[in-house]
Structure formats: structure tokens, C-alpha cells
């Protein structure tokens, strides 16, 4: 296995205030794998944590917890996974200490840097404007000690040809190039040390479609020629669908679905993937699912499944908490069932799973819930309403946190619908 | 509500700043060694054992035999009690706090008047300059303000005195009032007016309009001098930020929805453009205070700056340190106030 992440988690601490304000849970508990010469797509909307994941895999930022195992033999990875399910910390530690990139430093890390690289979205800011193309492409070769100055200079010419640029471009400055040409230079730089793993972070998002098509074709050719494992991070599902062998779909810091491209695109299983694919303009397969609302704030993500507040197929145990249910209940009681809530009374969440409807009768509240359950899905999590504390006391059932469930060949989905009981 | 929490937090941050400021002033006090401190209190004519006895007594009393950081706390306690030491200059002898109470009001009145001039002249000119970019008017404003910006303040003062005071004879340029007018006024003696020590206000309180008018005339030149130097900066900053704001998408949208040009400038653009200028105003306060030292000297205007110059010229340690402390406090508190104003003006500030 070229690279495998296990339980990878990254929280960015927020500073400010006297006490601090918590953390952005950018990536939480993610497993991903990339094999030699494979193109793996990571799709997700802004804030889904896909870029952070890319940086974590390259060791550009240190994870809060979890491991990134590089170049690990299949059987050891299997052993690691077995140890993980058996909760055998010792074996896990043993394997991780040898293969995890987060444990490497100094010379080892430098050698590793040569074997993995990254290409960024913005062709305008990722190239040093004061350097000539030649210097830009040479830099990683020299700094990682892969080649000496003169050899590197010679190699630059070959690389330029490789990415379809004339040799004379070596003497140009970035501002003299078009967006597509710059992205070719960036690609030449990132493959200059012949890495075996390359992360592409939105490589074509800033480009026009005509230039995008050229770059994508080029990437495919480069992969063939050098057998580089590519991790392609993008919000554009069509691009992923054109490029990748396998796909991971991310939502709010988690991988919600992963598997071979063709089966995911033609038969998505996670409700989010279904909606995401149906939202692609011009896509005519199946009815369009329009999601309500927007991705959540990752400082305080929804409990249970992060997707549950927007999920069209949400169930009673997907993560509803008192705060969410109380909000919807209050909206109903103040709107559609106007009059049931007395002037000045409130709907107060008490703890995570209990709500007090002040001054209301349990019987009436029960009736509202019965009537609205069909439409207002959060109400389904209510299992009991009784009198108490000067009002109706509403109790919610405890939610479940979805794990990764294997469905078809090589496919995993993180959704309770697919949990085998 | 959240704003109050922000203010409270901002006040908490103030504490270390104040500690820093007082520590610097304290360090300056003690930089000259113990003898310099003692010299303030001991009669120079004493000699022999009497002198030694006095020295020993005072050393104990002033805790000069303690370690330096302990001395700092004794000193701080005294400062908090209001004992800021003594000043001895030709224009005033007495405690530093008294001196500040006497001189501060004059400085405040010309500084505030200058600040008013800066806003009233600066904002319209800055906006005008940006809106009529590259026009004759804009170029005139820019050349003038650049000229003023690069001119030292005493030169501006002298130029104004010569032009308006000496040749045109329209404005007085020395002191706070024509002494003949106040020679027989009961609420004014020894150059000090009562009760507020601001002559203009005191005259109004006592209904003496002639003195009030004269006092106001005396304020104009010093205030104008102070204002002109800073004004140039305000205009330049406002012009630049206004131009930047006028390029923003929301200005395009304002025009796209048919907002009349005047409202585009005065409402949509100006409120956003003023924000950086507010920050700049914090620096202008420093500029005003620095300027006050020169201006009050030139115009013979008895304010803090005038007293500071006198203290400097007379080796008056107490006066120098007292004014340093007071300048420091003013700067710290204006920056506090400006931060709060900024948070109030810009809804994006998270507090």
C-alpha cells in the first residue's frame, strides 16, 4: 500500500477570548488509502476537510491523532487493522513506529519529502513571481538533495517537455504565462523528484474548461508514465468521475462513502452522495434531490451523523439532540399551532436528550408530534412525552454514531441505513 | 451585550500595559541613582552629620535600601495614592498632580478643538479628493496636504503667526487671553481661572462674553497649527481608503440598484472608508500630544506641553516624569476608546 491513513483526525484550536473557544474539527476519524499508480478522488464541498486531509497525508501539518502509514506492505497493514479491531495497542504502535510519517524526522523525513509532493489550486500564487520557471522547477530537486544544480538544470528541460511546454519557457517568469501554462509548470515542479505520491488540491478549479481538459489529460499521462499514486482533491464531481479509479466522498470532516468510481457514480448509497451527484447540473439520471440548508459549522458539528440535519432519509436515531428538536418544536408551536404555547412560555432544551415545553399539556404536545412527524423528521426521535416540571417533558431516544459499513465489493458507507443488525 | 464583554476584556488587557508604562517611568526615576532622588528632598545647605542623618532617615522613608522591585511597588502605591512627586519650574512649583490639574485643561481644550478641525475639514476633503480623483481640486488638495505633511510643526506655527498674526493682525498669537481684559476679574488670578481652569468655559460660566470671545480667538492659531500637521495624514488616508472602497463589489451593487451617487459616496462608501481612518486617529493623538509640546511653547500657551518644556529646561526631574506618565496614560486610554468605537462601527469585529 502506497499510503494509508488510519483514524486520522485534525482539530484546529481556535484562539481568542480568555478561555479559548474550542476547535474546528476539520478532519475527524478518517481512513483512506492510495495504492501505487492509482488515482483516488476526494470530493466534498468547501469546509468538508478535503484540503486538510491532503496536507495531513503529506505530513505538512501534524495530525491531532491517528496515523499516516507510508509504503507499508499489505500484510502489515492488514495486521495493523486486525490489531485495531482487537484494540491491541502494542502491535499497532509497533507497526506505526516504523511506517508512520508523523514519527519521522531529520534525514528520513527529507528522503520522504522527495517521494511525495503537492500541487495547489491557484496557479497565480503558488509560483514565486520573482523566480524564473527554471528556478521554480529546480528548487525541490536541489533542496531535497535529489540532484545537484547542473544535473537539475538539465532535468528541467526534460520535465518541460514532459508537461508539454517548449524548452525556452525555462527562462520565463510566471507572469508571462497563462493560467494553464503555469499549472503545467507547477506540475513539472511537483514531479521533478519522481515522487511516488502526489496530492493535487483543486488543480484545475481556477482554469477555464479548455485548459482544464488539457491539464487533466496531462495528469492521466503522467500517472501512466511514472506510476505515481495521485490523490485528487476537488469539489467538481465530474472531474473526479473522469479522472479517478476510486472515490472518497467527504462531508463535514468525515468520509461518508468510499469505493470504486463507476459504482459510486452510478449507484451512490449514502444520502449525501445521492444528493451531491444529483445536484451536478446537466445530470439527468434520477430525480434531483435538493438539500436544504448548508454544511454545518465545524466548531460544533451536529451530533451522531454530521449530515443528519439536512438528510432527506434521516431516521430517529441519526443524531437528533434536544437543541435541534426544541427549535423545531418551538417553531411549530409558535406558528402552525399558534396558541398552544402561552405568552412568555418557552421550549427549553434540558441536557442533550430532554426538552421542557413550559406550560403545555403533554396530551396536546403528543398530538402535535403525531401529526407533524411525517414532515418534521426531527420529531421522530421523541419517544415519550409526559407531564412534569410545570409543562410537558419531552424525551428523546439516544442517537447512534454511524461506523463504516461494507456494502458491495470494495465499498464502504458511513450511514446507519446500511448497518447490519 | 456582547459589546460589554468586549469592553471588559479590553480593560483587562489594559492592566499589563499600565504595569509596563509605570515600570518604565519608575525605571527612569531610578536611572540617576539614589542621590538624584534624595536631592529633591534634602536641603543642599546641610552638611556633616546632620546631612548624613537626614540621608539615612530619608533613605529608610523612601525605601531606597530595599531591592529595586520592592521599591517599584512602594513607588506604585504612592502614585496610586496621588503622590506623583514634586515639580519646580519658573511657571509652577508644587506637586505634580496639581500641575497636571492646572495645565491639562488648556492642552485638552486646544487638542480637542484641533481634533474637531481635523474631522470637520479632513473628512469632507478626503471624500472630495477621492470622488473627484485626478481633478484639479483633487490635485490641489493632494499637493497642499503633502506639503503640510512634510513641514515640521514649528514651521507651520511660525508661518501662521507671521501671516495671520503679524501681517494681517486678525488673530492673537501669545498666551490664553489679553491680560488687560482679565486684570480685574475676580475668578481669575495668577494666570489661572476658576473653577474649571479652562478660561473659555469659565468665562462663559461667569457670563463674561468679552473674555470668552478673546479666549476663543487665542485658541484658534495653536489649534489650527496642531490640526494642520495631522490633517494632511487624515486626508491622505481617507482618500486612499475611499478609493479602495469605491472599487468594491458592494459599491457596484449599490449603483446597480439605483442608489443616487451622493448616497453611494456618503452612505455606502464613507462608512466603510472611515474605519481605517479611525485607527489612524489613534496615531494622531500621539501626534497631537507631541505637537502640543512645540505649539504651546511657540504660542506661549500654558498647557502640559509648555510645562514639560519648562521642566526640561530646568532639570526638573519630577516634572519630566510626571508629564511622561500623563502622556502615556492619555495614549493608552485613547487607544482603548478608539478600539471600542471601532468595534461599534464595524459589525464584523468579533468580540
Amino acid at each position: 500500500m502506497l499510503i494509508a491513513a488510519r483514524n486520522l483526525t485534525k482539530f484546529f484550536e481556535l484562539r481568542g477570548g480568555l478561555t479559548g473557544k474550542g476547535a474546528v474539527q476539520a478532519v475527524s476519524d478518517v481512513d483512506v488509502e492510495v495504492r501505487e499508480g492509482e488515482i483516488v478522488g476526494v470530493v466534498g464541498e468547501s469546509g468538508s476537510g478535503k484540503s486538510t486531509l491532503g496536507r495531513l497525508l503529506l505530513g505538512l501539518i501534524a495530525p491531532t491523532s491517528g496515523e499516516v502509514l507510508f509504503d507499508i506492505p499489505e500484510e502489515l497493514l492488514q495486521k495493523y487493522d486486525e490489531a485495531r479491531s482487537a484494540n491491541d495497542k502494542k502491535t499497532m504502535e509497533e507497526i506505526a513506529s516504523k511506517y508512520s510519517i508523523t514519527r519521522k524526522s531529520g534525514r528520513e523525513l527529507r528522503a520522504l519529502r522527495r517521494r511525495m509532493n503537492m500541487m495547489f489550486q491557484d496557479p497565480y500564487s503558488s509560483l514565486n513571481p520573482r523566480w524564473r520557471v527554471e528556478d521554480i522547477i529546480m528548487e525541490p530537486m536541489v533542496s531535497t538533495g535529489y540532484l545537484t544544480g547542473n544535473e537539475a538544470r538539465k532535468r528541467v528541460r526534460e520535465l518541460l517537455e514532459e508537461v508539454g511546454l517548449p524548452r525556452e519557457f525555462a527562462y520565463r517568469y510566471p507572469h508571462e504565462l497563462s493560467g494553464g501554462q503555469r499549472q503545467r509548470v507547477a506540475l513539472a515542479r511537483s514531479i521533478s523528484t519522481l515522487p511516488s505520491f502526489l496530492v493535487l488540491d483543486e488543480p484545475t478549479s481556477a482554469l477555464d474548461v479548455s485548459a482544464q481538459a488539457q491539464i487533466l489529460q496531462l495528469l492521466k499521462r503522467i500517472r501512466e508514465r511514472f506510476r505515481i499514486g495521485l490523490l485528487l482533491i476537488t469539489h467538481n464531481i465530474a472531474v473526479v468521475s473522469y479522472m479517478s479509479d476510486r472515490i472518497y466522498v467527504m462531508y463535514a470532516g468525515k468520509v461518508v462513502e468510499g469505493g470504486p468510481k463507476t459504482s459510486i457514480i452510478s449507484k451512490p448509497q449514502h444520502p449525501y452522495t445521492v444528493a451531491l451527484i444529483s445536484a451536478v447540473p446537466g445530470n439527468s439520471r434520477g430525480p434531483r434531490v435538493i438539500l436544504r440548508g448548508e454544511p454545518p459549522n465545524l466548531v460544533d458539528p451536529p451530533k451522531g451523523c454530521h449530515f443528519h440535519p439536512r438528510c432527506p432519509m434521516v431516521m430517529d436515531n441519526c443524531g437528533w439532540t434536544a437543541k435541534e428538536v426544541a427549535e423545531e418544536l418551538e417553531f411549530l408551536l409558535r406558528g402552525r399551532y399558534y396558541g398552544m404555547l402561552k405568552e412568555g412560555s418557552k421550549v427549553v432544551p434540558q441536557g442533550e436528550l430532554e426538552i421542557l415545553v413550559e406550560g403545555a399539556k403533554a396530551e396536546e404536545v403528543r398530538k402535535v408530534i403525531e401529526e407533524e412527524k411525517e414532515e418534521v423528521k426531527s420529531l421522530r426521535s421523541i419517544y415519550e412525552v409526559r407531564e412534569g416540571n410545570g409543562g410537558a417533558l419531552v424525551k428523546l431516544m439516544r442517537y447512534d454514531i454511524p461506523g463504516m459499513y461494507r456494502t458491495d465489493e470494495g465499498r464502504e458507507v458511513s450511514c446507519l441505513i446500511y448497518r447490519k443488525t | 451585550m456582547r459589546l460589554w464583554i468586549y469592553i471588559a476584556r479590553r480593560l483587562l488587557i489594559l492592566i499589563p500595559t499600565l504595569v509596563g508604562l509605570t515600570f518604565i517611568v519608575f525605571a527612569l526615576t531610578h536611572a540617576g541613582g539614589n542621590n538624584l532622588i534624595l536631592a529633591e528632598y534634602i536641603n543642599p545647605r546641610l552638611s556633616g552629620p546632620a546631612r548624613e542623618e537626614a540621608v539615612a532617615k530619608l533613605t529608610a522613608e523612601l525605601h531606597l535600601n530595599q531591592p529595586i522591585y520592592v521599591q517599584y511597588f512602594y513607588w506604585l502605591a504612592e502614585v496610586l495614592k496621588g503622590n506623583w512627586g514634586y515639580t519646580n519650574t519658573p511657571i509652577f512649583s508644587g506637586s505634580v498632580t496639581q500641575a497636571i490639574a492646572l495645565f491639562m485643561p488648556n492642552t485638552l481644550s486646544i487638542s480637542l478643538f484641533a481634533a474637531l478641525l481635523i474631522w470637520v475639514i479632513g473628512i469632507p476633503l478626503g471624500v472630495f479628493s477621492a470622488v473627484n480623483r485626478d481633478s484639479v481640486g483633487d490635485n490641489a488638495v493632494r499637493v497642499t496636504s503633502f506639503g503640510l505633511y512634510s513641514m515640521p510643526i514649528y514651521l507651520i506655527a511660525v508661518a501662521l503667526i507671521l501671516a495671520l498674526g503679524v501681517y494681517l493682525k486678525v488673530l492673537p498669537f501669545a498666551g490664553v487671553v489679553n491680560p488687560l481684559l482679565v486684570s480685574n476679574v475676580p475668578w481669575y488670578h495668577n494666570g489661572i481661572s476658576y473653577p474649571t481652569h479652562i478660561l473659555l468655559i469659565d468665562a462663559i460660566i461667569h457670563g463674561d462674553w468679552v473674555v470668552a470671545g478673546n479666549a476663543f480667538l487665542h485658541m484658534i492659531l495653536p489649534s489650527l497649527t496642531l490640526a494642520l500637521g495631522v490633517l494632511a495624514g487624515v486626508i491622505r488616508i481617507l482618500r486612499a481608503s475611499m478609493l479602495e472602497v469605491l472599487d468594491q463589489d458592494y459599491i457596484k451593487l449599490a449603483r446597480a440598484k439605483g442608489v443616487p451617487e451622493r448616497a453611494v459616496y456618503n452612505l455606502h462608501a464613507r462608512r466603510n472608508a472611515i474605519l481605517p481612518t479611525v485607527t489612524f486617529f489613534g496615531y494622531t493623538v500621539a501626534g497631537l500630544l507631541g505637537g502640543a509640546v512645540v505649539v504651546e511653547e511657540v504660542f506661549n500657551y500654558p498647557g502640559i506641553g509648555y510645562w514639560t518644556t519648562q521642566a526640561l529646561l530646568n532639570n526638573d526631574v519630577g516634572g519630566i516624569l510626571g508629564s511622561t506618565l500623563v502622556f502615556g496614560l492619555i495614549l493608552i486610554f485613547t487607544s482603548l476608546i478608539l478600539d471600542i468605537v471601532y468595534a461599534f462601527l464595524d459589525p464584523r469585529i468579533k468580540y
Partner: protein, 444 residues
Amino acid sequence: MEYALSVKDLRVSFYTRRGVFKALNGVNLELRRGEVLGVAGESGSGKSTTGLAIMGLLPRNAKVSSGSVLFDGRDLLAPLTSIRKFSTGRNESAIRKLHRELAPIRGKRISMVFQEPMTSLNPVLQVGYQIAETLVIHNPSLLASRKLARVRATREDTTALLKVIKENEGSETAVREFVESRHLKGLEEQALFIWRRNDINELRKERLILDLCCEKVGSTTKRLLESLEGGMGITKAPVLSRLLRRVLFKEGYRKAVEFLSTLGVPNPEKVVQMYPHELSGGMRQRIVIAIALINNPDVVIMDEPTSAVDVTVQAQILELVKDLKRRVNSSFIFISHDLSVLGEVSDRIAIMYGGRVVEVGPKEIVLKAPRHPYTTMLINAIPTLDGREIRGIEGEAPDMRNPPPGCIFNNRCPFAMDKCRKEEPPSYKVSEDHYVACFLQGGK
């Protein structure tokens, strides 16, 4: 045929330090009434410049060397084209004149939605204020009659009104007739809005409609509102105008709430009190759309309204645009670099390249059977979900400081002939409604 708006032979160039960029080189476009015209093109094709030019929002270094934007029988860009010798100073004063002339039209008859919802709202003004402002500027008499209607109406009036609504099941004409018969114009839209809400139950709706009455205002305010309703415009008297504006803005917030809720904004009462930075990108884009549409303009220009938002939010906005197209009778120009987005919303699509419209026709024909080589190649370059092979367009876009003579696409076109390098191809009609600017389609 009667057009909502037409652009004729528009030529615009930008004077920059690095040379003169010829952004538009003879753009011709007609917008029909009630249609959505999609304008597609890559960066530098001039699609955004076209939108800005129609609004008269060109920057001061833009020279309009020829052409016109015809709307309602007048040329909107006349002040700019009349400049003979270009200088930014002269242009600036012409642009200022243009702003003055167009202010009454902008936001009322033609309006625009910009690409970046993050930057196109004023950060220091409340969202409600920014919506209400368009109403106060262009339609103060409507606000006045809304307010006055509630002042004049008695409990008996609203009771009768409620009965009319219930009997006619919320029919607009019936309510309008009733309101006019009682001289309560302005009440109908408020009542109908309440009636059509689906977040509250019948009882509450009835209560709210009955409460549309018996409001009290000061006698001065009432007089001011009445003169405004009579078509006098907002008074210029200093204190009075302030007073009146306050009342109008308050009413504007009220209408903004109603309008936002029809755009699917949850909790509009709260949203109008917020500042832009408190809202998500999708929500802000709805606000910008609300500002553009609240005065029922004839023409709405949408410049990449979905390019800066996420896919799922983009789907929401596209759904909204489709819904608006059914509901309102405005005509839309929808500018986007994404042909599949245009395929979703447009009736006709115009393809731009190098500051010219190279192909225009009905959506299905342009997307399925394009005739211009550029269009064909552009469509072949777009990756799709079925993972078909894509092909990039070789070569780079021409340097617009010095565009090649003849057809502007000739340096990248596989079919380029000698003629293409000498003459500019005219627009050939290849079938009903379908025009292509390529010699392959016309006389060889």
C-alpha cells in the same frame, strides 16, 4: 419582434498600463421578453464586460468606442459613446453623468446579481436596510400606501377582507378588487403574503390578517405619507425627510421579510436584522437576488450567480431561478462559464469568444448540435459524470491587446482557411433562431 433589451455592435476596450485590451469586439445580443438568455464563455471572452456594460457599470478605464444598448427605446450608453478623444478624466465625468442618468432605471427596470455573494453586500449595513433601500429609492409610494392602508383600515375592513380571501381561496384578482373598492390599496400584498405562508396555521393567519388594521401614526407622518402616495416624491425638507425615511425604511423591512420568505429564506424576520458577515454564502446570494428582483424589473442580469457557492447550494439557487422564471415576468441574462449550469436554466444560449458572440441559438441546439468549431470543442472539453473522454482546446486564447485579423478563433481552429485569417465572419443564420459566426456555415 419586440425585445426587452438589445445590444448592438458593442465595442469596449480597457486602457491599462500594459496596453489597450480590446474586450468587446462587436457584440450583438437580443434579449426577448420573458426568456432566460444564457451567455457562456471562458475568462476573457467578454461575457462579464457585456453584463457590466448593459448596466453602465464599466470602470473608468473602459472606452466604449461604438455600439449601443437599446432599452425601452433609448440608448443607455449614449453618454459614453459620445466621447471622441479618450482620456480617463473625460471618461470619468461621462461615467458620472451616466450614473446620474441611469440611477432611476437601475434596480427598478434593470438590475444585476453579481458573482461574489461574499463581497457584494455592504458589510456595515443590515441586510434588511440594503433591501429596503431599493424600495425607498424606486417605489416609496408603494411603501406609503402599504403603511397608510393599515392606518386607514378598520377592524370591519379586515374582517371583510378575510372573508373575501377565504371565499375566493386566496385569488389575487378578487382580493385586489375588494381592496380597491375600499380604497385600501397596498393591503392586498400583505394579506396575501400572510395567507400563502405555510409555516403557521389558519388560526394564526386569520389573526394576522385581522390585525392589518387600526395602526396609529402621527399627523405629520400621515400627511407626509399621503403626499407621497399622491406621487409627490420624498420631501426635501430636512427634518421631515428624515422622519419620512424612517417610516419608509421600517415598512421596507416589512416588505423585505415578505419577499425573502418567498425566496425560501428561513426565519426572514431575523435575517433582515443581520449583517452580511453573519450569513452563509448561499443565503447572501438570495439576499442579492432579492435586491435585484424586489422591484419587478424588466431585465435581470445574473453574472455567475452560482460560481462561488458549493454544488448543493448551487442546486438550490438554480432551482430558485427556475422557479422565479415561472413566477415573475422579467427577462434574464444569465452569465456563466459553466455550460451545464446554463443548460439547466436557459431558453437560449449565446457562446462568446474573444469579445464576440460566435454562436447563439435555442439551448437544445447549441448544446446538442453546435455548429461553430469553438462551441463543439468547448463542449468536448467538459468532463461529465459518465466519464467520457474529453479533449482540450489546443493553443492559448489570443492576446486581446493585439487580436489576430479575421476570425478571432483562427489560431486555434482546426478548420481555419485563408479567408478566416483575413475577414471577420458575419453571423450566418443556419436554422430558425440559430446563428453562427463562421465561414464554414456560409459562403465559402
